[in-house]
Symmetry: C2
Subunit: 178 residues, 2 copies
DNA sequence: CGCTGTTATGTACAGCCGTACACATCGTTG
DNA sequence: CAACGATGTGTACGGCTGTACATAACAGCG
């Protein structure tokens, strides 16, 4: 069987990994399941990613860009005239709206960093990036608090299944901003 | 080989499961690993817990009591004269201090509810219980916000590895309380 | 005592897993 | 063109997994 030359095989494997985690959860991620999803032989996934951690890092890094895109599409929180709390709450609303498999995926990869040291820098990247954006509008201390509150609210929505209440989020976020 | 009669075999299995998750993470939890840790044959774990989800539910429920005990030992947040934000911040400090394997364990089981519906009610129990305690001191809306912030701060500490800053937590929690 | 249902035990099965490795094939460079 | 390193492929191995099940030992009760 002739091998097919595939210049962006690596990228297709990452995409497949994201689909697998979205459908079967992080526990369902394996070299084999990814290979099947990407329609490539097993040896191909092990070649491009020696270890599963490597693959997870790549997937998490790419998943993070999902949130970054939502941020960017809303002006990157850069508008000094807009209400920061309202912007953040709107951001979360847009992110949490519609298909939640993407959100659950990002969260699951993000939370997996708790036990997988390899993922920790990538997760920290996400939090630091958001904090840095917020620091342009408020002090670092408040920025850190806002990130924590955003994390907590997202967690509650995803964990308990209650619908996202944007008005609640906006009002509570506003309390944190001095 | 004579079987040994063990009236609280079930409890010992749960304890062993908690130790396993603490040491090897949730991914390392299996009927076999628990059986080895509890020093019981494989058939015993499968008898008392038909499925792994059952075992996780029991473990999470027991782990939750770890936090509940910290709450109780500090008066259960019931002292109306004390500063609520300071009490909460102190609570988190005591919980996060010292050996963190217990905390990581609780968090990991808690967060696993994201993908395992069986764990969701137990996780919701934890959040609702804390919210109910707080509602005796403030309005339900604020209580929900405080729970979210507590979750978020704990997550940041565990995920990024920065040491817990009790003064920061107290001040930020106070901002949320109207 | 004898009977019954519960609890305990060992073993076996089929399946998935990560990893390693030899081999084929490609693009590229000398 | 030739040679080389990077990339793609198939297969095999040992280990771990959940689950099922037949058998044995128990506690409690009539």
């Amino acid at each position: 069987m002739p091998r097919r030359y595939d210049p962006d095989r690596r990228q297709r494997i990452i995409d497949a990994a994201i689909r697998v985690v979205g459908e079967k959860g992080l526990a369902g991620l394996s070299h084999r399941s990814v290979a099947a999803e990407a329609d490539v032989p097993l040896g191909s996934t092990t070649y491009h990613f020696k270890t599963l951690d490597e693959l997870m890092v790549a997937a998490l890094r790419q998943a993070n860009e999902g949130f970054a895109k939502v941020v960017a599409s809303r002006g990157g929180l850069a508008d000094d005239r807009a209400d920061l709390a309202a912007e953040l709450a709107g951001l979360m609303g847009e992110w949490l709206a519609g298909d939640r498999t993407g959100v659950e995926l990002e969260c699951e990869l993000y939370l997996a960093a708790l036990r997988r040291p390899a993922l920790r820098p990538v997760a920290a990247e996400w939090a630091d990036d958001l904090a840095a954006r917020l620091t342009r509008r408020t002090d670092p201390r408040t920025a850190r608090a806002l990130v924590a509150l955003v994390d907590g609210i997202c967690l509650q929505v995803l964990l308990t299944g209650v619908p996202y209440d944007e008005e609640f989020a906006r009002e509570v976020l506003a309390r944190v901003i001095p």
